[in-house]
């Protein structure tokens, strides 16, 4: 490989790292993304000059098709479809690493053990990422057939043993393959198929609210797959970029797990949503329903309001209503903030993107750790489509399945208004004592229409 190509890769590696560094503030993040995109462009152009690249027609075909699909999907789709799209793109990245490994194997089936193992790693990690991301995408799209819903955790007897067997098969088969590097393709194809199956099996039992963890984990895998592909073709830029992505996914996974007070193994293997069906009756008392007019009077008198959005906000598409209400309150002299729980929604940072889409200024968004100490001074907390992330049972009730999970402690505010469709429990069927507290008011109905009703009251006065 010529020294110029290597120097260009060095510059690209610098730009990739710089791009991630600039991501540390919303002010510089766009520049960071641009730096990263430039690094990618530089890498691709330089690679085309590589002496090994002699046939350009197939590359052209792939690039044209890929660019067309990628740019269409990225610009035409609704922003609400973002989680699915990110999962899908992620799967494609893993798929590409798999194909690179497969092609290297096909070109030269007899390899020394180390190269054989790296090829297999690229194929297996790429395969798991590909099939796992497709299933995750299907879950986020709520694909279903008759009464079957892919988004629900799918558990069946023997699931763990099957997963374990698949993993064992991959390890033993991989070892055999590495030691022996057999000429027959059967073992290679069997291992590839097992990787696909493993990806599906790992994601299928995950419940909706655990999706942020899985998405982050798959993100990490796609980076590791690129890394492995880098070892296959002995290319340092693949390894650097892949490692950066792998690290990023790992950190996000860790943050998501901490925010749910659960270990990664617990998320991956327990099928939380299905197991924790033990419902407990609330601490007594009845919920206190209010009308939009009542809500208006409460909010109108408030000096400090905190909105707490959850997945229900995304479902009801109520983010614009929230923003409008927030602006009216601000004009009314009220201090308005938005508190976002790390695992609210279906992917890391989901709520932040929704609120940003509705033009909510990002300096009004506060994190859980910052808002909780100030809760006593908050007049009104408005909970929109969030449930488990504001459930005080996680703090008070050691019997609760979510005990120990950090929550946004809305119940410590003077008044809590909960916008909710009905009294049904959250995704895990966990009773929420918040709804029965003395300072809680329930505003029943679709979040969007409830907000519009409150907005109507504001505008009428």
């Amino acid at each position: 490989m010529s020294v110029y190509i290597q120097l260009a890769y060095l510059l690209a590696a610098f730009l990739f790292a710089l791009g991630l560094k600039l991501m540390s503030s919303p002010d510089t993040a766009r520049l960071g993304n641009l730096a990263s995109a430039c690094a990618m462009l530089l890498t691709v152009v330089v690679t085309l000059l590589h002496t090994g690249v002699v046939e350009y027609q197939w590359i052209l075909l792939g690039v044209v098709v890929g660019s067309a699909i990628g740019s269409l999907a990225a610009t035409r789709l609704q922003l609400t479809e973002m989680p699915e799209l990110v999962a899908l793109f992620n799967g494609f990245g893993g798929g590409a690493s798999l194909l690179v490994g497969w092609e290297a194997y096909h070109r030269q089936p007899l390899q020394d053990p180390l190269s054989a193992v790296t090829i297999l790693l690229a194929v297996v990690i790429g395969g798991v990422t590909f099939s796992g991301s497709l299933v995750a995408c299907g879950k986020l799209r709520e694909i279903g057939w008759r009464s079957f819903r892919l988004s629900r955790p799918l558990l069946f007897p023997g699931q763990q043993p099957i997963n374990f067997l698949l993993l064992a098969l991959l390890c033993v088969g991989g070892l055999l393959y590495g030691l022996d590097s057999p000429e027959s393709q059967t073992l290679f194809l069997v291992l590839m198929a097992s990787a696909f199956l493993l990806g599906i099996m790992v994601v299928v039992p995950i419940g909706g609210a655990d999706m942020p963890v899985v998405i982050a984990l798959l993100n990490s895998y796609s980076g590791l797959a690129a890394c492995a592909a880098g070892f296959v073709i002995l290319n340092n830029i693949l390894i650097v970029a892949g490692a950066l992505v792998g690290a990023s996914g790992l950190i996000l996974t860790n943050i998501m797990c901490k925010a749910m007070n659960r270990s990664l193994a617990n998320v991956l293997f327990s099928g939380f949503g299905a197991v924790a069906g033990k419902t407990r009756k609330g601490t007594g008392g009845d919920p206190r329903p209010i009308s939009a007019e009542d809500a208006y009077f409460i909010l109108e008198a408030a000096r400090s309001v905190v909105f707490v959005p959850g997945y229900g906000l995304a479902v009801a598409q109520a983010q614009h209503g929230v923003m409008e209400l927030g602006e009216l309150l601000e004009d009314n002299g009220c201090d308005v903030r938005y508190a976002v729980h790390p695992v609210a929604g279906r992917m890391p940072g989901h709520m932040n993107v929704l609120l940003a889409e509705a033009n909510v200024s990002y300096d009004l968004l506060v994190e859980m750790e910052d808002v909780n100490p100030t809760m006593e001074a908050v007049d009104v907390c408005v909970v929109i489509g969030a449930n488990d992330v504001v459930n005080p049972a996680a703090r008070d009730d050691s019997e609760s399945p979510i005990y120990g999970m950090p929550i946004i402690e809305v119940d410590r505010a003077r008044v809590v208004i909960v916008l909710k469709r009905s009294m049904a429990a959250g995704f895990a069927g966990i009773e929420n004592p918040l709804f029965y507290k003395d300072n809680t008011r329930m505003l029943f109905g679709d979040a969007k229409s409830s907000l519009n009703a409150v907005l109507g009251e504001f505008k009428r006065s």
């Binding site: 960071g32 494609f92 590409a96 932040n352 994190e367």
Partner: protein, 99 residues
């Protein structure tokens, strides 16, 4: 060959540390753009795909695998960066504008 591998493992180790340091400074507000942006970076497998699809003396299967790899990786790269840019364009401070 194995000397190369060892050298690349050093790079891998240092890059992982660099990644962990850089990413832990990203605020949670930007977690989604971070994810989709780093997702686009994972399309770097495109380099391997280009080398595979552009190699001389390929069998039809090699060409097929290489071309498919180029297409998938390009979707990942182009789509990933565009989506990220679209999302980041929405993150603005708007307070000043309203007055």
């Amino acid at each position: 060959m194995s000397g190369d591998l060892i050298f690349l493992m050093f790079i891998l180790m240092l890059a992982v540390f660099l990644g962990l340091e850089l990413i832990s400074k990203v605020p949670s507000t930007l977690h989604t753009p971070l994810m989709s942006g780093s997702n686009a970076i994972s399309g770097i497998a495109l380099v391997g795909a280009l080398l595979a699809a552009g190699a001389a003396d390929s069998t039809p299967l090699s060409i097929g695998l290489g071309t498919a790899a180029v297409a998938l990786a390009t979707i990942n790269v182009v789509g990933g960066y565009l989506v990220t840019q679209r999302m980041l364009a929405m993150f603005k401070k708007k307070r000043g504008d309203r007055q």
